[in-house]
Subunit: 501 residues, 2 copies
């Protein structure tokens, strides 16, 4: 022990040897700086309150936490798609398909689920528990390519598709490829899903913000040009543009004319385009249908380098916990494709059942299949309900004082704007916090509703918002809305009666 202490003192002669090697001071400063509000202070507080309600059910002014901070539909009782779960169960316990069990199995599972399980098991030579190819199972990638072709009317190459563990991991991987120095910049929308700022901070790169126009959440090419010119003039090597469509947190959906402008801007300005299209089936208006960036790139014959991301977590599938998704790489250099393969191979492979769920998402039961009717009924039921709830919540927000909100054209969120009384803004300032954060924390503490402050996504300076999902189940939706209305009216009443400064 004498030797040990002597060595330690030699290494730290001033006697200030820290008690730990890994501390806030010594750790990766990029991770320390990183912020991720979707699971930040408010959801953490919500977890605490949920625990408190378990042990002291009457200790708070509400009976349960309503988690509207994250697009996690099955947490709020959305039922999984039966066919997807049937096929998954059969693949998990493939003994059910053996001759000695199949007759009983047929009493519990429809024939097309049995056939589908057999076919998908054949993709992996029966071994659903083995590592697959690092880019994902070849046949699933073929099915994804076919889905894209049918969606867009343009060819897609299975070798350009990489299955991933949700879209988040895919975005992180592509950004990691792009960032060659701290001087590299990536344009991101404001407001944005904070995966982008978090990952750019972790990778020590520059996030170059451009603002979405709140009147319709479309992109202004003039704004893009302005933001790009400003960044480039300060010496930043701007390489890529991120677009989230349908928008998170905005709920906006880009018109094809706007997408074409964006593609042309990227080609002109030599920017790689990252299109986050995970909400592509969450579309609620006829005026703003979903159009993929891949389709417009193909229509224009553009050579722009495009990565498009999709996921099983959203849409009507909502299999968030399964972690499945893919990206399609368009016009990407062949050698870069090899490097992306190498990068994927270090993580071995995305989980097999996530890959299989992607397969079902892109290749669901067809007309004439035994499960077609139920599948469509489930999809349509979820879709119509989401559409009703989106409308109802926007109406509620718009009925309240000091609050305006666009209808959701897509996605799972509303992003209402609040005009805070000056007295409250000053009060928040004194607390050293952003007013929207204080407002959201108070909402949580008085209603149990957990949302994310606008500052977690970024917002136009001087404006304040929050993001709420519209995922609480319809049976509880009025209660949810009333709880919120009561809180907001009370909040505004208190401040409007307080003396102005």
């Amino acid at each position: 022990m004498v030797t040990a202490n002597a060595t330690a003192s030699a290494a730290h002669p001033s006697g200030t040897r820290p008690s730990k090697v890994l501390t806030l001071e010594s750790m990766n400063p990029n991770i320390r700086t990183m912020e991720y509000a979707v699971r930040g202070a408010i959801p953490i507080k919500a977890d605490e309150l949920r625990e408190q309600l378990k042990t002291q059910p009457n200790s708070l002014p509400f009976k349960q936490i309503t988690p509207c901070n994250i697009g996690n539909p099955q947490q709020l009782n959305q039922k999984p798609l039966t066919f997807l779960r049937q096929v998954s169960a059969l693949m998990e316990y493939a003994d059910l398909l053996k001759p000695e069990m199949i007759e009983t199995t047929r009493k519990l599972f429809p024939e097309d689920a049995i056939e589908r399980a057999k076919r998908n098991l054949a993709y992996v030579s029966g071994a659903a528990g083995a590592y697959t190819h690092s880019l994902g199972i070849h046949e699933v990638r073929q099915n994804v390519a076919r889905f894209i072709e049918q969606r867009d009317g343009f060819p897609a190459n299975p070798n350009s598709i990489c299955l991933t563990s949700g879209a988040s991991g895919a975005v992180e991987r592509v950004l990691d490829m792009l960032i060659s120095s701290p001087n590299v910049g990536v344009m991101i929308p404001i407001p944005q899903y904070p995966l982008y700022t978090a990952t750019l901070t972790r990778l020590n790169a520059q996030a170059i913000p451009y603002y979405l126009q709140e009147e319709d959440w479309q992109l202004s090419i003039g704004d893009l040009e302005g933001a790009l010119a400003k960044a480039r003039s300060s010496g930043i090597d701007v390489r890529a543009l991120v677009v989230i469509n349908p928008g998170n947190p905005t709920g906006g959906c880009l018109l094809d004319s706007n997408i074409a402008e964006i593609v042309q801007f990227c080609e002109r300005e030599h920017l790689v385009l990252l299109a986050d299209e995970v909400y592509q089936t969450n579309i609620y208006t006829e005026t703003n249908p979903f159009v993929s960036f891949k389709k417009i790139v193909s229509q224009l014959g553009s050579q722009v380098e495009l990565f498009s991301f999709h996921s099983i977590s959203k849409g009507m599938i909502g299999e968030c916990g399964r972690r499945g998704g893919y990206y399609e790489a368009v016009n990407i250099d062949e050698q870069i494709m090899g490097q992306l393969f190498k990068l994927a191979s270090v993580s071995l492979c995305p989980n097999v059942m996530g890959q299989m769920a992607v397969d079902i998402m892109v290749n669901p039961p067809k007309p004439g299949d035994q499960s077609y009717g139920l599948y469509q009924e489930e999809i349509d039921g979820i879709y119509q309900s989401l559409k009703r709830r989106a409308k109802k919540l926007a109406e509620a927000f718009n009925s309240l004082p000091n609050m305006t909100c666009n209808d959701a054209q897509g996605a799972m969120y509303l992003f209402p704007k609040i005009e805070f009384p000056q007295a409250f803004i000053d009060e928040a300032k004194q607390l050293g916090q952003s007013p929207d954060s204080v407002y959201c924390m108070r909402m949580l503490e008085s209603t149990g509703i957990s949302v994310v402050p606008g500052s977690g996504f970024g917002q136009y300076p001087g404006t304040f918002h929050f993001r709420s999902t519209f995922l609480p189940p319809e049976s509880l939706f009025d209660e949810f809305i009333n709880g919120f209305k009561h809180f907001h009216t009370d909040f505004m009443g208190r401040y409007s009666s307080s003396p102005k400064i």
Copy 2:
């Protein structure tokens, strides 16, 4: 278009505008430099040959590829554990548990699998498709803690356990936390599993090699001290030591006395200890049982900062494709625990069924449970077979000219040493390749057996090895061994008859 070209020319005034933004030259140079041999040139060639065999079955001197490059047992027909798959299937399609279906379900599933599925579904309030807590389901972490306590005889804290998407993602996350500048160094064994060098290269940190002693694959504290002193004297901020036990690729298993020396070394030298213990149940000798680093740290009352990694991919479970694992953080600063939580939250959560498989790994059927007998029989059958195959393959390697190989004390690999004839070494040099790589590629091309060259793991200078799993099924094991023997004898015969230089 005129405007577009003008802008492009302005940005690239020399007229050398590259055709792509993202190229080998512009990409993240750390990823470009990164190597990962387990899925490198030889497995890629194996994929090509596998495709060739599909279309032209008689075009090669072998009928199938034997993938011994990766520890992927179910790819080579190892059967999954029945109980694990039964519970998984019931959780996937939870309608099977409903009153109207349960009677038929009981004809296909044992009662304890049904009870277990109900219990595990209750952990997630019935929603197996929702995001979980980012650190993993609380009850599963409690069960992991209990497992560690029973294994080691010392307390474990569920809040110190983080469920992950396999051990690889966990290792990457911890290394990312540790690397605050390019000057940070992490000590890694040579030979090592190349996840470590790949990740350190990607994170732009220094890998500080220390050599394992081939006579028994134990660690020499003198060697550790030497490697550390050399690195520190050149100004490197060495912060952590990686130990892989049981060893990959070596198959060695550390004695408790050696582990204690390593813990004391880390404490003395102020190093965070990363213990990769994913092969902890793959143990084949009585002389070298598995002892966890956590146990020794606890016995010594050491304050060393320890991360211990475990996985469902190895052991007798072999659920590689599911992507499940965990790490336990011991003696880690509280604020760092918060930062690790934040980092996990950006990736949302590890996949739910991987978490549930961890739960079954740490809490299998107990004596008296209906499935206990079968579970034990399956585990023991796999274990005894692995043990037989390990021994048989080592004997085969040791029977061959110019080849020596330690018995596997643990893990799934042998790492035989080959003495290459000088003529072959010279030939490889002229090809600009390492001799072991050339040897392994020829082995693949003449036998279909895919292994990984020693240079992919690192090896003592001037020595040559390869890593082979012993996972081909017993029914094909003699054929596998004979194919290899024939190749090696032929290879050696050709070079020993060639004129010496």
